[in-house]
């Protein structure tokens, strides 16, 4: 496997050339990818909010945002500014410490999970060995934040919304983790980089979606449920619970929930594309293109080309999935809470267990196709 561009190494070499010690160079390097990913996550949210407004408008035969910038592209920024300058209200009978800590606990794990999202061979913050397991562990912290804000609001709708959110994310975490486990079984590694590399053999044909169609569908349903997107947005069902755990929130604290849910949506879409749609891989393998152009795979032009194609492909696949999620939100009715829990425990859980068993059997029977 070629190593691809290694920006960290070249950056450190430049700083060392300027006469800095390697440790200092490392410290200067450390915050850069974190800031870059944080900024791209927030920009991704702005794009998603705009897409959501425009697509929902199209689905309902409206025009949608139009005046802020061309086609209303500046509308999300205007929304953000409005939330930023709104008064921060804490209800008099609310528990102010828990009320403030709740939104933070919801947002921080989601942002931390971006640690493991790779945009290329070396284009991720940290290639930790536990990779995808880190995301599963971090996403299990979120329900505590939701319960906390639901309880602290001192409002029955908030409490019910918080309890529903926690029940929902506990019951959908298990099929989600089991479908990830089937992928891990095929890869022999938890690292997201290894998962993508394992799918890069024959372009589009070697993507995991062909080998794990059931797992893909289970993962997508569970990811939508974890993000509380519409077929499963029971925690904030407007008709029943006003706005669930967000009812009492205003201003920046509400914006944190809003930001958290959209960052989570983009993160889930990115992870679906990494686990099942070949991550940064181009549908035609880069090696074939390089051979066609008569260039060696290590040539600088090809290296830069590979890196930029990688970023474009990851973002493109993720936004395709975000588009599907938005379309689902504006075209499907909401399920009831009992239907939701039945679907999770009585349908998805057995199916994902069977999927894991079949994957293990296929791995033993055809080790060349299902990872040795």
């Amino acid at each position: 496997m070629n190593s691809g561009l290694d920006l960290e190494f070249s950056f450190n070499e430049i700083l060392k050339g300027l006469g800095l010690s390697s440790e200092l160079a490392h410290i200067i390097w450390l915050p850069l990818p974190m800031l870059l990913v944080l900024v791209s996550a927030v920009v991704g949210v702005l794009v998603t909010v705009w897409l959501e407004r425009k697509i929902s408008a199209a689905a309902q035969q409206r025009i949608g945002p139009e005046y802020a910038g061309a086609l209303g592209v500046l509308q999300p920024i205007a929304d953000g500014l409005k939330l930023l300058v709104k008064e921060d209200i804490i209800p008099a009978k609310a528990d102010s410490i828990l009320f403030t800590a709740g939104p933070i606990l919801v947002l921080v794990p989601v942002i931390l999970s971006w640690l493991i999202v790779p945009f290329g061979q070396n284009l991720l913050i940290s290639n930790v060995g536990i990779g995808i397991f880190l995301w599963i562990a971090l996403s299990s912290i979120q329900p505590i934040g939701l319960l906390m804000s639901g309880y602290a609001s001192n409002n029955k709708y908030s409490l019910l919304g918080g309890l529903r959110a926690a029940a929902q994310s506990i019951s959908y975490e298990i099929p989600l983790a089991l479908s990830v486990l089937a992928i891990v079984l095929m890869t022999n590694s938890l690292s997201t980089v290894d998962i993508v590399n394992q799918q890069s053999g024959a372009g589009i044909l070697s993507w995991n979606i062909w080998r794990q169609p059931v797992g893909f569908i289970i993962f997508w349903i569970c990811a939508l449920a974890e993000c509380e997107r519409l077929p499963f947005d029971l925690p904030e069902a407007e008709e029943e619970l006003v706005a669930g755990y967000q009812t009492e929130y205003a201003g920046m604290k509400f914006a944190l929930f809003y930001l958290g849910s959209y960052i989570n949506l983009i993160l889930s879409a990115l992870l679906v594309s990494i686990l099942y749609l070949g991550g940064w891989g181009f549908p035609i393998p880069i090696e074939i293109i390089a051979k066609f152009l008569n260039l060696p795979i290590d040539a600088p032009v090809i290296q830069v080309f590979t890196a930029s194609i990688g970023i474009i492909m990851t973002v493109l696949k993720a936004y395709l999935l975000v588009f599907i999620a938005i379309l689902l939100r504006w075209t499907t009715p909401r399920v009831r809470i009992d239907q939701l829990l039945d679907l999770g425990w009585k349908f998805l859980l057995p199916i994902s267990l069977a999927n894991l068993l079949v994957t293990a059997g296929l791995k033993l029977a055809f080790p060349q196709f299902f990872g040795g």
């Binding site: 536990i130 562990a137 505590i144 319960l147 906390m148 309880y151 926690a166």
Partner: protein, 199 residues
């Protein structure tokens, strides 16, 4: 002292402080809800300590199991049965407190004595397996620790069956100790169709 070592020492002291103060808060705070949330914080800091020991898989498992499952269930249970009712006053509370404090202090002094008298064998940091540990844990779970692992799962199954029996009161509608019928107010009513059937 290199920057990495300094960072480690700072992280270790912050995490241990959070563990100690959080654990004290869990016991001493009056509000049970605060105690439950602080318990989550303690679990998180313990996971941080595992991370400092290069055991990233154990740290993630700690977060997933203790914070994501155990603590959420504790909070869930507290919020579902949060009756605002004063506890019955216990007589001679003061002497009970003195006795329990002295027992706890004795245990603590015993632990401190063991800690000081024992010579702790430190593993060579160069022998650390780091990321390999995930594979090593898996191998152990499926070879020499297979029996304890399976016995633990049977234990969990028993707990689950017990919970179902306790929760479904149509199975046990008599209080075991008093023999009186159990208060069944909270049981869901049998569902009635909203739309009348066409006759």
């Amino acid at each position: 002292m290199s920057i990495a070592v300094t960072t480690q020492i700072i992280c270790f002291s912050v995490l241990s402080l959070v563990v100690i103060i959080g654990a004290l808060g869990v016991i001493l705070l009056e509000s049970i809800v605060y105690s439950a949330f602080l318990l989550g914080g303690v679990f998180m800091s313990v996971a941080g300590l595992y991370l400092l020991l290069n055991a990233s898989f154990v740290a993630a498992a700690q977060v997933l199991v203790y914070v994501g499952a155990v603590n959420v269930l504790i909070i869930f249970a507290i919020m579902l049965v949060n009756k605002k009712e004063d506890l019955k006053p216990i007589n001679n509370l003061k002497s009970r407190r003195i006795i329990s404090t002295s027992i706890c202090l004795t245990l603590l002094s015993l632990l401190i004595r063991v800690d000081l008298s024992n010579v702790w064998g430190l593993a060579d940091p160069k022998m650390s397996i780091g990321e390999e540990s995930t594979i090593r844990i898996g191998e152990h779970l499926f070879s020499d620790y297979l029996l304890p692992f399976e016995v633990a799962s049977v234990l969990l199954l028993m707990a689950m069956i017990g919970a179902i029996v306790l929760a479904r009161r149509d199975v046990m509608n008599e209080d075991i100790s008093t023999g009186l019928p159990v208060d069944q107010e909270l049981i869901e009513k049998s569902s009635e169709p909203l739309l009348m059937k066409n006759n």
